[in-house]
Protein backbone atom coordinates (compact mmCIF):
# COMPACT_ATOMS: atom_id res chain seq x y z
CA UNK A 1 0.00 0.00 0.00
CA UNK A 2 2.76 2.43 0.96
CA UNK A 3 4.79 1.59 -2.13
CA UNK A 4 1.77 2.03 -4.39
CA UNK A 5 0.83 5.34 -2.77
CA UNK A 6 4.40 6.57 -3.01
CA UNK A 7 4.73 5.53 -6.64
CA UNK A 8 1.51 7.42 -7.39
CA UNK A 9 2.71 10.46 -5.45
CA UNK A 10 6.26 10.40 -6.83
CA UNK A 11 5.79 12.82 -9.73
CA UNK A 12 4.17 15.48 -7.57
CA UNK A 13 6.76 14.98 -4.84
CA UNK A 14 9.54 15.45 -7.41
CA UNK A 15 7.92 18.62 -8.74
CA UNK A 16 7.69 19.93 -5.17
CA UNK A 17 11.34 19.02 -4.63
CA UNK A 18 12.30 20.82 -7.85
CA UNK A 19 10.43 23.95 -6.75
CA UNK A 20 12.19 23.89 -3.38
CA UNK A 21 15.53 23.29 -5.07
CA UNK A 22 14.99 26.24 -7.41
CA UNK A 23 14.11 28.37 -4.40
CA UNK A 24 17.23 27.20 -2.58
CA UNK A 25 19.34 28.04 -5.65
CA UNK A 26 18.14 31.61 -5.30
CA UNK A 27 18.07 31.87 -1.51
CA UNK A 28 21.46 30.37 -0.70
CA UNK A 29 23.70 32.80 -2.67
CA UNK A 30 21.61 35.88 -1.77
CA UNK A 31 21.41 34.73 1.84
CA UNK A 32 25.17 34.20 2.06
CA UNK A 33 25.73 37.61 0.53
CA UNK A 34 23.38 39.26 3.00
CA UNK A 35 25.03 37.49 5.92
CA UNK A 36 28.48 38.57 4.79
CA UNK A 37 27.39 42.21 4.41
CA UNK A 38 25.86 41.92 7.88
CA UNK A 39 29.18 40.88 9.36
CA UNK A 40 31.22 43.27 7.25
CA UNK A 41 29.17 46.26 8.39
CA UNK A 42 29.59 45.17 12.00
CA UNK A 43 25.88 45.05 12.58
CA UNK A 44 26.16 42.38 15.27
CA UNK A 45 28.09 44.81 17.50
CA UNK A 46 25.41 47.41 16.83
CA UNK A 47 22.84 45.21 18.47
CA UNK A 48 24.89 44.88 21.63
CA UNK A 49 25.09 47.44 24.40
CA UNK A 50 27.97 49.15 22.55
CA UNK A 51 25.70 50.24 19.70
CA UNK A 52 25.81 54.00 19.31
CA UNK A 53 23.75 56.53 17.43
CA UNK A 54 25.60 55.81 14.19
CA UNK A 55 24.21 52.28 14.39
CA UNK A 56 20.72 53.48 13.60
CA UNK A 57 21.98 54.70 10.26
CA UNK A 58 23.89 51.49 9.61
CA UNK A 59 20.83 49.41 10.38
CA UNK A 60 18.67 51.65 8.21
CA UNK A 61 21.03 51.47 5.26
CA UNK A 62 21.32 47.69 5.57
CA UNK A 63 17.54 47.31 5.68
CA UNK A 64 17.11 49.64 2.72
CA UNK A 65 19.77 47.83 0.75
CA UNK A 66 18.00 44.49 1.07
CA UNK A 67 14.42 45.72 1.13
CA UNK A 68 13.69 45.05 -2.53
CA UNK A 69 15.16 41.56 -2.24
CA UNK A 70 13.13 41.03 0.92
CA UNK A 71 9.97 42.16 -0.87
CA UNK A 72 10.71 39.67 -3.61
CA UNK A 73 11.18 36.87 -1.10
CA UNK A 74 7.87 37.84 0.52
CA UNK A 75 6.19 36.24 -2.52
CA UNK A 76 7.31 32.88 -1.18
CA UNK A 77 4.27 33.18 1.07
CA UNK A 78 2.38 31.70 -1.92
CA UNK A 79 4.53 28.57 -1.88
CA UNK A 80 2.87 26.68 1.02
CA UNK A 81 -0.40 26.97 -0.89
CA UNK A 82 1.09 25.89 -4.20
CA UNK A 83 2.89 22.93 -2.64
CA UNK A 84 -0.21 21.92 -0.69
CA UNK A 85 -2.54 21.85 -3.70
CA UNK A 86 0.13 20.18 -5.82
CA UNK A 87 0.46 17.33 -3.34
CA UNK A 88 -3.32 16.91 -3.36
CA UNK A 89 -3.25 16.12 -7.09
CA UNK A 90 -2.59 12.35 -6.91
CA UNK A 91 -5.72 11.81 -4.83
CA UNK A 92 -8.09 13.66 -7.14
CA UNK A 93 -6.48 12.33 -10.33
CA UNK A 94 -7.33 8.81 -9.17
CA UNK A 95 -11.00 9.69 -9.57
CA UNK A 96 -10.61 11.79 -12.69
CA UNK A 97 -8.90 8.87 -14.44
CA UNK A 98 -11.27 6.28 -12.94
CA UNK A 99 -8.33 4.27 -11.60
CA UNK A 100 -9.98 4.11 -8.17
CA UNK A 101 -12.02 1.30 -9.72
CA UNK A 102 -8.75 -0.57 -10.13
CA UNK A 103 -7.37 0.34 -6.71
CA UNK A 104 -10.55 -0.44 -4.78
CA UNK A 105 -10.97 -3.89 -6.26
CA UNK A 106 -7.62 -5.18 -5.10
CA UNK A 107 -7.58 -6.90 -1.71
CA UNK A 108 -7.03 -3.67 0.24
CA UNK A 109 -10.23 -2.15 1.61
CA UNK A 110 -11.33 1.30 0.64
CA UNK A 111 -10.75 2.73 4.11
CA UNK A 112 -7.15 1.58 4.24
CA UNK A 113 -6.53 2.84 0.74
CA UNK A 114 -7.85 6.32 1.57
CA UNK A 115 -5.88 6.43 4.81
CA UNK A 116 -2.65 5.38 3.10
CA UNK A 117 -3.06 7.81 0.24
CA UNK A 118 -3.97 10.84 2.36
CA UNK A 119 -1.47 9.90 5.05
CA UNK A 120 1.36 9.96 2.54
CA UNK A 121 0.17 13.28 1.07
CA UNK A 122 0.20 14.77 4.60
CA UNK A 123 3.70 13.41 5.23
CA UNK A 124 4.98 14.90 1.96
CA UNK A 125 3.33 18.24 2.79
CA UNK A 126 4.95 18.32 6.24
CA UNK A 127 8.40 17.57 4.79
CA UNK A 128 7.95 20.30 2.16
CA UNK A 129 6.82 22.72 4.88
CA UNK A 130 9.84 21.86 7.01
CA UNK A 131 12.29 22.48 4.17
CA UNK A 132 10.57 25.74 3.24
CA UNK A 133 10.58 26.93 6.86
CA UNK A 134 14.26 26.11 7.36
CA UNK A 135 15.31 27.81 4.12
CA UNK A 136 13.36 30.99 4.73
CA UNK A 137 14.21 31.23 8.43
CA UNK A 138 17.89 30.94 7.62
CA UNK A 139 17.64 33.53 4.87
CA UNK A 140 15.74 36.05 7.01
CA UNK A 141 18.01 35.68 10.03
CA UNK A 142 20.03 38.94 9.63
CA UNK A 143 16.92 41.00 8.89
CA UNK A 144 15.07 39.42 11.81
CA UNK A 145 17.88 40.25 14.20
CA UNK A 146 17.67 43.89 13.16
CA UNK A 147 13.93 44.40 12.68
CA UNK A 148 12.18 41.50 14.33
CA UNK A 149 9.85 38.99 12.78
CA UNK A 150 6.41 40.37 13.47
CA UNK A 151 5.84 42.06 10.11
CA UNK A 152 3.60 40.04 7.80
CA UNK A 153 6.26 39.55 5.14
CA UNK A 154 8.57 37.82 7.59
CA UNK A 155 6.06 36.42 10.08
CA UNK A 156 4.41 34.32 7.35
CA UNK A 157 7.59 32.35 6.74
CA UNK A 158 8.98 32.12 10.28
CA UNK A 159 8.19 29.83 13.15
CA UNK A 160 5.63 27.12 12.45
CA UNK A 161 2.84 28.75 10.44
CA UNK A 162 4.05 27.27 7.12
CA UNK A 163 3.11 23.81 8.43
CA UNK A 164 -0.44 25.02 9.03
CA UNK A 165 -0.68 26.79 5.68
CA UNK A 166 0.55 23.76 3.71
CA UNK A 167 -1.80 21.35 5.47
CA UNK A 168 -4.70 23.72 4.96
CA UNK A 169 -4.03 24.06 1.22
CA UNK A 170 -3.67 20.29 0.94
CA UNK A 171 -6.96 19.72 2.75
CA UNK A 172 -8.76 22.38 0.74
CA UNK A 173 -7.68 21.03 -2.66
CA UNK A 174 -8.33 17.43 -1.58
CA UNK A 175 -11.84 18.24 -0.39
CA UNK A 176 -12.71 20.20 -3.54
CA UNK A 177 -11.20 17.43 -5.67
CA UNK A 178 -13.06 14.67 -3.81
CA UNK A 179 -16.39 16.31 -4.54
CA UNK A 180 -15.61 17.73 -7.97
CA UNK A 181 -13.37 14.91 -9.24
CA UNK A 182 -11.67 17.13 -11.81
CA UNK A 183 -7.98 17.62 -11.16
CA UNK A 184 -7.06 20.95 -12.69
CA UNK A 185 -10.23 22.89 -11.80
CA UNK A 186 -10.07 21.55 -8.25
CA UNK A 187 -6.44 22.64 -7.93
CA UNK A 188 -7.22 26.13 -9.23
CA UNK A 189 -10.32 26.47 -7.04
CA UNK A 190 -8.46 25.09 -4.03
CA UNK A 191 -5.62 27.54 -4.46
CA UNK A 192 -7.98 30.50 -4.99
CA UNK A 193 -9.87 29.63 -1.80
CA UNK A 194 -6.59 29.20 0.07
CA UNK A 195 -5.39 32.59 -1.15
CA UNK A 196 -8.63 34.27 -0.03
CA UNK A 197 -8.41 32.73 3.43
CA UNK A 198 -4.76 33.73 3.82
CA UNK A 199 -5.57 37.30 2.76
CA UNK A 200 -8.36 37.43 5.34
CA UNK A 201 -6.13 36.11 8.12
CA UNK A 202 -3.13 38.29 7.25
CA UNK A 203 -5.03 41.54 6.98
CA UNK A 204 -7.89 41.12 9.40
CA UNK A 205 -7.90 38.12 11.70
CA UNK A 206 -4.27 37.95 12.89
CA UNK A 207 -4.39 41.27 14.79
CA UNK A 208 -7.61 40.17 16.46
CA UNK A 209 -6.40 36.79 17.72
CA UNK A 210 -5.05 38.50 20.83
CA UNK A 211 -6.26 42.00 21.77
CA UNK A 212 -3.43 44.39 20.84
CA UNK A 213 -1.61 46.47 23.44
CA UNK A 214 -1.30 50.24 23.47
CA UNK A 215 1.43 52.61 24.52
CA UNK A 216 1.49 56.37 24.95
CA UNK A 217 4.79 58.15 25.29
CA UNK A 218 6.50 61.44 25.07
CA UNK A 219 8.38 62.02 21.86
CA UNK A 220 11.28 63.58 23.79
CA UNK A 221 12.19 60.17 25.25
CA UNK A 222 13.19 57.13 23.17
CA UNK A 223 10.41 54.89 21.88
CA UNK A 224 9.14 52.46 24.53
CA UNK A 225 11.08 49.22 24.79
CA UNK A 226 7.88 47.19 24.19
CA UNK A 227 7.56 48.60 20.69
CA UNK A 228 10.91 47.15 19.67
CA UNK A 229 10.38 44.62 16.85
CA UNK A 230 6.65 44.76 17.49
CA UNK A 231 3.91 44.64 14.88
CA UNK A 232 2.67 48.23 15.01
CA UNK A 233 -0.92 48.28 13.85
CA UNK A 234 -1.47 51.99 14.31
CA UNK A 235 0.55 54.97 15.49
CA UNK A 236 -0.65 58.54 15.85
CA UNK A 237 -0.26 61.78 17.82
CA UNK A 238 -2.38 61.78 20.94
CA UNK A 239 -3.06 63.58 24.15
CA UNK A 240 -1.80 62.31 27.45
CA UNK A 241 -4.65 59.79 27.66
CA UNK A 242 -3.95 58.31 24.27
CA UNK A 243 -6.84 59.96 22.47
CA UNK A 244 -6.15 60.78 18.87
CA UNK A 245 -5.46 64.47 18.24
CA UNK A 246 -5.42 66.19 14.89
CA UNK A 247 -2.40 68.42 14.61
CA UNK A 248 -3.22 71.59 12.69
CA UNK A 249 -1.31 71.92 9.45
CA UNK A 250 0.81 74.82 10.62
CA UNK A 251 2.01 73.14 13.80
CA UNK A 252 5.17 71.09 14.09
CA UNK A 253 5.55 71.11 10.30
CA UNK A 254 2.96 68.40 10.20
CA UNK A 255 0.09 67.99 7.89
CA UNK A 256 -1.32 64.61 7.32
CA UNK A 257 2.07 63.05 6.90
CA UNK A 258 3.96 63.26 10.16
CA UNK A 259 7.69 63.24 9.53
CA UNK A 260 10.05 62.37 12.32
CA UNK A 261 12.21 65.43 11.98
CA UNK A 262 14.76 66.29 14.71
CA UNK A 263 12.68 69.20 16.00
CA UNK A 264 9.49 67.25 16.21
CA UNK A 265 9.99 66.12 19.80
CA UNK A 266 10.44 69.70 21.03
CA UNK A 267 7.40 70.83 19.07
CA UNK A 268 5.31 67.99 20.53
CA UNK A 269 6.51 68.89 24.01
CA UNK A 270 5.58 72.54 23.50
CA UNK A 271 2.02 71.69 22.48
CA UNK A 272 1.59 68.83 24.94
CA UNK A 273 1.28 66.15 22.29
CA UNK A 274 2.19 62.52 22.83
CA UNK A 275 2.62 59.56 20.54
CA UNK A 276 0.28 56.63 20.80
CA UNK A 277 0.73 53.18 19.31
CA UNK A 278 -1.46 50.09 19.01
CA UNK A 279 0.73 47.02 18.66
CA UNK A 280 1.34 43.33 19.07
CA UNK A 281 4.58 42.98 21.01
CA UNK A 282 7.36 40.76 19.71
CA UNK A 283 7.00 38.65 22.86
CA UNK A 284 3.70 37.37 21.49
CA UNK A 285 5.35 35.83 18.43
CA UNK A 286 5.05 32.22 19.53
CA UNK A 287 1.61 32.60 21.04
CA UNK A 288 0.27 34.11 17.79
CA UNK A 289 2.11 31.56 15.68
CA UNK A 290 0.68 28.77 17.80
CA UNK A 291 -2.91 30.00 17.51
CA UNK A 292 -2.66 30.63 13.77
CA UNK A 293 -0.95 27.32 13.05
CA UNK A 294 -3.53 25.47 15.13
CA UNK A 295 -6.37 27.16 13.23
CA UNK A 296 -4.94 26.36 9.80
CA UNK A 297 -3.88 22.82 10.71
CA UNK A 298 -7.28 22.10 12.26
CA UNK A 299 -8.99 23.49 9.15
CA UNK A 300 -6.79 21.31 6.96
CA UNK A 301 -7.47 18.28 9.14
CA UNK A 302 -11.22 18.81 9.04
CA UNK A 303 -11.14 19.22 5.24
CA UNK A 304 -9.07 16.04 4.86
CA UNK A 305 -11.46 14.16 7.11
CA UNK A 306 -14.37 15.46 5.05
CA UNK A 307 -12.66 14.37 1.81
CA UNK A 308 -12.03 10.91 3.28
CA UNK A 309 -15.61 10.59 4.50
CA UNK A 310 -17.07 11.81 1.21
CA UNK A 311 -14.88 9.44 -0.78
CA UNK A 312 -15.68 6.52 1.50
CA UNK A 313 -19.43 7.09 1.54
CA UNK A 314 -20.36 8.81 -1.68
CA UNK A 315 -18.10 7.66 -4.49
Amino acid sequence: MIWVSWRRQRTEALIAAAVLLALAAFLVPTGLHMASVYHHDGLSTCLGPAGGASCDDTIQSFTDRFSSLNNLIAWTTLLPGLLGVLLAAPFMLEFEHGTHRLAWTQSVTRGRWIAGKLGLAVACALVAALILTLLLTWWHAPLVRLNGRMDNGVYDSEGIVIFGYTLFALGLATAVGAVWRRGVPAIVAGFAAYFAVRLFVDTWLRQRLMPPLTATWHLMVPDPRALRHALVLDEYPADAHGHHVLIPANECGAGRALKRTPGLGDCFARHGYFMHAVYEPASRFWALQGIETALFAAGGGILLAFAAWWTYRRV
Binding site: M1, W3, V4, R7, R8, T11, H97, G98, T99, R101, L102, A103, W104, T105, Q106, S107, V108, T109, R110
Partner: protein, 297 residues
Protein backbone atom coordinates in the same frame (compact mmCIF):
# COMPACT_ATOMS: atom_id res chain seq x y z
CA UNK B 1 -25.67 -30.77 -3.37
CA UNK B 2 -26.44 -27.16 -2.55
CA UNK B 3 -23.50 -24.80 -2.89
CA UNK B 4 -23.46 -21.10 -2.14
CA UNK B 5 -23.91 -19.25 -5.43
CA UNK B 6 -21.00 -17.02 -6.43
CA UNK B 7 -23.38 -14.11 -6.69
CA UNK B 8 -26.95 -13.78 -5.53
CA UNK B 9 -29.03 -10.65 -5.61
CA UNK B 10 -32.44 -10.02 -4.14
CA UNK B 11 -34.55 -7.20 -5.53
CA UNK B 12 -31.33 -5.26 -5.89
CA UNK B 13 -31.74 -1.65 -6.91
CA UNK B 14 -29.52 1.38 -7.41
CA UNK B 15 -30.75 4.90 -7.90
CA UNK B 16 -28.74 7.91 -9.06
CA UNK B 17 -30.71 10.98 -8.14
CA UNK B 18 -34.25 10.19 -9.25
CA UNK B 19 -33.35 7.69 -11.98
CA UNK B 20 -33.09 3.99 -11.27
CA UNK B 21 -30.03 2.52 -12.95
CA UNK B 22 -30.97 -0.93 -11.71
CA UNK B 23 -34.23 -2.12 -10.25
CA UNK B 24 -35.71 -5.28 -8.76
CA UNK B 25 -32.81 -7.35 -9.94
CA UNK B 26 -33.03 -10.86 -8.55
CA UNK B 27 -30.65 -13.47 -9.88
CA UNK B 28 -28.15 -16.10 -8.87
CA UNK B 29 -24.88 -16.86 -10.60
CA UNK B 30 -23.82 -20.44 -9.83
CA UNK B 31 -20.23 -21.05 -8.80
CA UNK B 32 -18.16 -22.40 -11.66
CA UNK B 33 -20.33 -20.89 -14.37
CA UNK B 34 -19.33 -18.51 -17.11
CA UNK B 35 -22.14 -16.01 -17.21
CA UNK B 36 -22.80 -13.45 -19.88
CA UNK B 37 -24.56 -10.29 -18.84
CA UNK B 38 -26.20 -8.89 -21.93
CA UNK B 39 -28.15 -5.74 -22.53
CA UNK B 40 -28.15 -2.51 -24.47
CA UNK B 41 -26.03 0.43 -23.37
CA UNK B 42 -27.49 2.01 -20.27
CA UNK B 43 -29.33 -1.14 -19.25
CA UNK B 44 -27.66 -1.21 -15.82
CA UNK B 45 -24.93 -3.75 -16.53
CA UNK B 46 -22.11 -1.62 -15.16
CA UNK B 47 -24.20 -0.66 -12.16
CA UNK B 48 -24.92 -4.30 -11.34
CA UNK B 49 -21.27 -5.34 -11.69
CA UNK B 50 -20.07 -2.42 -9.56
CA UNK B 51 -22.51 -3.40 -6.83
CA UNK B 52 -21.15 -6.96 -7.03
CA UNK B 53 -17.53 -5.89 -6.52
CA UNK B 54 -18.41 -3.36 -3.83
CA UNK B 55 -17.67 -0.22 -5.83
CA UNK B 56 -21.24 0.95 -5.39
CA UNK B 57 -23.74 0.94 -2.57
CA UNK B 58 -27.16 -0.58 -3.16
CA UNK B 59 -30.15 1.72 -2.78
CA UNK B 60 -32.58 -1.15 -2.40
CA UNK B 61 -32.46 -4.93 -1.93
CA UNK B 62 -29.26 -6.86 -1.32
CA UNK B 63 -26.32 -8.44 -3.08
CA UNK B 64 -24.17 -11.25 -1.77
CA UNK B 65 -20.91 -12.60 -3.11
CA UNK B 66 -20.08 -16.05 -1.70
CA UNK B 67 -22.65 -15.27 0.97
CA UNK B 68 -21.04 -12.00 2.07
CA UNK B 69 -21.99 -8.38 1.53
CA UNK B 70 -19.33 -6.93 -0.79
CA UNK B 71 -19.41 -3.53 0.93
CA UNK B 72 -19.81 -4.45 4.59
CA UNK B 73 -17.49 -7.46 4.41
CA UNK B 74 -15.14 -5.90 1.85
CA UNK B 75 -12.13 -7.33 3.64
CA UNK B 76 -13.48 -10.86 3.16
CA UNK B 77 -14.93 -10.45 -0.34
CA UNK B 78 -12.23 -8.39 -2.10
CA UNK B 79 -9.45 -11.03 -1.98
CA UNK B 80 -11.81 -13.55 -3.59
CA UNK B 81 -12.98 -11.31 -6.44
CA UNK B 82 -11.07 -10.08 -9.49
CA UNK B 83 -12.44 -7.14 -11.41
CA UNK B 84 -11.63 -5.70 -14.81
CA UNK B 85 -13.49 -2.41 -15.05
CA UNK B 86 -14.85 -0.88 -18.21
CA UNK B 87 -12.03 0.49 -20.38
CA UNK B 88 -9.70 -1.45 -18.06
CA UNK B 89 -8.24 1.50 -16.10
CA UNK B 90 -4.55 1.16 -15.31
CA UNK B 91 -1.86 3.55 -14.11
CA UNK B 92 -0.68 4.79 -17.48
CA UNK B 93 2.58 6.21 -16.14
CA UNK B 94 3.63 2.84 -14.69
CA UNK B 95 5.63 0.19 -16.50
CA UNK B 96 4.14 -3.27 -16.87
CA UNK B 97 6.51 -4.52 -14.17
CA UNK B 98 5.40 -1.76 -11.81
CA UNK B 99 1.78 -2.54 -12.54
CA UNK B 100 2.42 -6.15 -11.53
CA UNK B 101 4.15 -4.86 -8.41
CA UNK B 102 0.94 -3.01 -7.56
CA UNK B 103 -0.89 -6.33 -7.75
CA UNK B 104 1.75 -7.99 -5.59
CA UNK B 105 1.65 -5.27 -2.94
CA UNK B 106 -2.13 -5.04 -2.73
CA UNK B 107 -3.09 -8.73 -2.83
CA UNK B 108 -2.01 -11.31 -0.28
CA UNK B 109 -2.93 -14.17 -2.62
CA UNK B 110 -0.88 -12.78 -5.52
CA UNK B 111 0.69 -15.41 -7.78
CA UNK B 112 3.80 -13.70 -9.10
CA UNK B 113 5.08 -16.68 -11.10
CA UNK B 114 1.77 -16.92 -12.91
CA UNK B 115 1.69 -13.20 -13.66
CA UNK B 116 5.23 -13.18 -15.05
CA UNK B 117 4.62 -16.26 -17.12
CA UNK B 118 1.46 -14.82 -18.57
CA UNK B 119 3.13 -11.52 -19.40
CA UNK B 120 5.91 -13.45 -21.10
CA UNK B 121 3.53 -15.64 -23.09
CA UNK B 122 1.68 -12.58 -24.34
CA UNK B 123 5.07 -10.96 -25.08
CA UNK B 124 4.15 -7.84 -23.13
CA UNK B 125 7.24 -5.67 -22.52
CA UNK B 126 7.92 -5.64 -18.75
CA UNK B 127 9.72 -2.30 -18.99
CA UNK B 128 7.18 -0.71 -21.32
CA UNK B 129 4.96 2.10 -20.11
CA UNK B 130 1.29 1.12 -19.82
CA UNK B 131 0.24 4.28 -21.67
CA UNK B 132 2.33 3.26 -24.68
CA UNK B 133 0.74 -0.20 -25.05
CA UNK B 134 -2.04 -0.96 -27.51
CA UNK B 135 -5.61 -1.27 -26.26
CA UNK B 136 -5.41 -5.04 -26.60
CA UNK B 137 -2.19 -5.22 -24.61
CA UNK B 138 -3.62 -2.97 -21.90
CA UNK B 139 -6.65 -5.23 -21.64
CA UNK B 140 -4.32 -8.20 -21.28
CA UNK B 141 -2.38 -6.47 -18.49
CA UNK B 142 -5.65 -5.73 -16.72
CA UNK B 143 -6.73 -9.34 -17.10
CA UNK B 144 -3.35 -10.57 -15.84
CA UNK B 145 -3.68 -8.32 -12.82
CA UNK B 146 -7.13 -9.70 -12.06
CA UNK B 147 -6.16 -13.35 -12.66
CA UNK B 148 -2.87 -13.33 -10.74
CA UNK B 149 -4.85 -12.31 -7.69
CA UNK B 150 -6.16 -15.89 -7.91
CA UNK B 151 -9.80 -14.92 -7.46
CA UNK B 152 -12.67 -17.36 -7.18
CA UNK B 153 -14.92 -14.95 -9.04
CA UNK B 154 -13.77 -12.83 -11.95
CA UNK B 155 -15.98 -9.94 -13.02
CA UNK B 156 -15.35 -8.21 -16.33
CA UNK B 157 -17.25 -5.13 -17.46
CA UNK B 158 -17.31 -4.83 -21.26
CA UNK B 159 -13.81 -6.29 -21.48
CA UNK B 160 -13.70 -6.47 -25.27
CA UNK B 161 -15.78 -3.43 -26.23
CA UNK B 162 -12.77 -1.28 -27.03
CA UNK B 163 -10.76 -4.00 -28.80
CA UNK B 164 -10.43 -4.75 -32.49
CA UNK B 165 -11.72 -8.16 -33.65
CA UNK B 166 -8.35 -9.88 -33.47
CA UNK B 167 -7.50 -8.57 -30.00
CA UNK B 168 -11.03 -9.43 -28.95
CA UNK B 169 -10.56 -13.02 -30.03
CA UNK B 170 -7.19 -13.29 -28.32
CA UNK B 171 -8.55 -11.80 -25.14
CA UNK B 172 -11.47 -14.17 -24.94
CA UNK B 173 -9.40 -17.24 -25.72
CA UNK B 174 -6.87 -16.37 -23.02
CA UNK B 175 -9.79 -15.83 -20.66
CA UNK B 176 -11.12 -19.29 -21.51
CA UNK B 177 -7.69 -20.78 -20.95
CA UNK B 178 -7.78 -19.35 -17.44
CA UNK B 179 -11.21 -20.86 -16.84
CA UNK B 180 -10.09 -24.33 -17.78
CA UNK B 181 -6.92 -23.98 -15.70
CA UNK B 182 -8.44 -22.60 -12.53
CA UNK B 183 -12.19 -23.18 -12.68
CA UNK B 184 -12.80 -19.57 -11.76
CA UNK B 185 -16.40 -18.33 -11.93
CA UNK B 186 -16.76 -15.63 -14.53
CA UNK B 187 -19.30 -12.91 -15.11
CA UNK B 188 -18.75 -10.69 -18.09
CA UNK B 189 -20.94 -8.05 -19.62
CA UNK B 190 -21.19 -7.04 -23.22
CA UNK B 191 -23.58 -5.59 -25.68
CA UNK B 192 -22.02 -7.73 -28.39
CA UNK B 193 -23.55 -11.17 -28.17
CA UNK B 194 -21.52 -12.98 -30.80
CA UNK B 195 -18.38 -12.91 -28.65
CA UNK B 196 -20.08 -14.33 -25.64
CA UNK B 197 -21.89 -17.22 -27.20
CA UNK B 198 -18.63 -19.10 -27.68
CA UNK B 199 -17.45 -18.76 -24.14
CA UNK B 200 -20.47 -18.58 -21.85
CA UNK B 201 -22.75 -21.21 -20.41
CA UNK B 202 -25.12 -18.92 -18.52
CA UNK B 203 -26.95 -15.85 -19.65
CA UNK B 204 -28.55 -12.86 -17.94
CA UNK B 205 -30.44 -10.37 -20.06
CA UNK B 206 -30.70 -6.96 -18.50
CA UNK B 207 -32.75 -4.27 -20.11
CA UNK B 208 -34.24 -1.04 -18.87
CA UNK B 209 -32.70 -1.57 -15.44
CA UNK B 210 -34.42 -4.95 -14.96
CA UNK B 211 -33.59 -8.60 -15.40
CA UNK B 212 -35.48 -10.00 -18.38
CA UNK B 213 -34.16 -13.52 -18.47
CA UNK B 214 -31.60 -15.53 -16.57
CA UNK B 215 -30.50 -19.14 -16.79
CA UNK B 216 -28.24 -21.74 -18.42
CA UNK B 217 -27.87 -21.06 -22.13
CA UNK B 218 -28.72 -24.62 -23.25
CA UNK B 219 -31.97 -24.50 -21.28
CA UNK B 220 -32.82 -21.11 -22.65
CA UNK B 221 -32.24 -22.26 -26.21
CA UNK B 222 -34.22 -25.45 -25.59
CA UNK B 223 -37.20 -23.57 -24.14
CA UNK B 224 -37.62 -21.07 -26.91
CA UNK B 225 -39.39 -21.81 -30.18
CA UNK B 226 -40.39 -19.79 -33.14
CA UNK B 227 -43.96 -20.57 -34.19
CA UNK B 228 -45.25 -19.62 -37.59
CA UNK B 229 -48.72 -20.10 -38.90
CA UNK B 230 -51.65 -18.43 -40.60
CA UNK B 231 -52.54 -15.08 -39.17
CA UNK B 232 -54.23 -15.81 -35.87
CA UNK B 233 -55.00 -14.55 -32.45
CA UNK B 234 -52.17 -15.25 -30.02
CA UNK B 235 -54.40 -15.46 -26.96
CA UNK B 236 -54.76 -19.20 -27.22
CA UNK B 237 -51.01 -19.79 -27.21
CA UNK B 238 -50.40 -17.14 -24.56
CA UNK B 239 -52.57 -19.07 -22.10
CA UNK B 240 -50.04 -21.88 -21.90
CA UNK B 241 -46.80 -20.39 -23.12
CA UNK B 242 -45.04 -17.09 -22.66
CA UNK B 243 -45.13 -15.09 -25.87
CA UNK B 244 -41.98 -13.02 -26.10
CA UNK B 245 -42.66 -11.31 -29.40
CA UNK B 246 -45.41 -11.52 -31.99
CA UNK B 247 -45.04 -10.35 -35.56
CA UNK B 248 -47.96 -10.22 -37.90
CA UNK B 249 -47.76 -9.91 -41.63
CA UNK B 250 -50.78 -9.93 -43.89
CA UNK B 251 -51.20 -13.65 -43.95
CA UNK B 252 -48.84 -14.99 -41.39
CA UNK B 253 -48.11 -14.66 -37.72
CA UNK B 254 -44.78 -15.56 -36.22
CA UNK B 255 -44.32 -15.85 -32.48
CA UNK B 256 -41.28 -16.31 -30.38
CA UNK B 257 -42.43 -18.19 -27.31
CA UNK B 258 -40.83 -19.47 -24.18
CA UNK B 259 -42.56 -22.81 -24.22
CA UNK B 260 -43.95 -24.46 -21.18
CA UNK B 261 -43.72 -28.07 -22.37
CA UNK B 262 -44.68 -29.08 -25.89
CA UNK B 263 -46.70 -27.01 -28.28
CA UNK B 264 -49.44 -29.37 -29.42
CA UNK B 265 -51.39 -27.02 -31.63
CA UNK B 266 -50.94 -28.46 -35.12
CA UNK B 267 -51.76 -25.16 -36.81
CA UNK B 268 -48.31 -23.86 -35.85
CA UNK B 269 -45.10 -24.77 -37.51
CA UNK B 270 -42.23 -25.09 -35.01
CA UNK B 271 -38.71 -23.81 -35.61
CA UNK B 272 -35.57 -23.93 -33.54
CA UNK B 273 -34.09 -20.52 -32.71
CA UNK B 274 -30.53 -19.63 -31.87
CA UNK B 275 -29.42 -17.61 -28.90
CA UNK B 276 -28.91 -14.39 -30.79
CA UNK B 277 -32.51 -14.39 -32.03
CA UNK B 278 -33.76 -15.01 -28.52
CA UNK B 279 -31.73 -12.18 -27.04
CA UNK B 280 -32.74 -9.77 -29.77
CA UNK B 281 -36.37 -10.73 -29.25
CA UNK B 282 -36.17 -9.91 -25.54
CA UNK B 283 -34.50 -6.60 -26.21
CA UNK B 284 -37.02 -5.75 -28.95
CA UNK B 285 -39.88 -6.77 -26.65
CA UNK B 286 -38.94 -4.10 -24.21
CA UNK B 287 -38.60 -1.48 -26.82
CA UNK B 288 -42.09 -2.23 -28.12
CA UNK B 289 -43.66 -2.31 -24.67
CA UNK B 290 -42.29 0.88 -23.36
CA UNK B 291 -43.04 4.12 -25.16
CA UNK B 292 -40.57 6.07 -23.02
CA UNK B 293 -37.66 4.00 -24.21
CA UNK B 294 -37.30 6.02 -27.37
CA UNK B 295 -36.65 9.06 -25.24
CA UNK B 296 -34.40 7.46 -22.68
CA UNK B 297 -32.29 5.64 -25.24
Amino acid sequence: MITTPAISTDRLGKRYGSAWALRDCTLAVPAGSVTALVGPNGAGKTTLLQLVVGLGRATAGSVEVFGCDPQRDAGAVLPRVGFVAQEHPLYSGFTVAEMLKVGRKLNPGWDDAFALQRVQELSLPLGGKIGKLSGGQQAQVALTLALAKRPELLVLDEPVASLDPLARREFLSSLMEAVTETGVTIVLSSHILADLERVCDHLVILSRARTQLAGPIDEIVAEHRLLTGPRADVAEIARRHEVVTARHSERQTSLLVRSNGHVYDASWELHEVDLEEIVLAYLAQNRAEDPTLAMSA
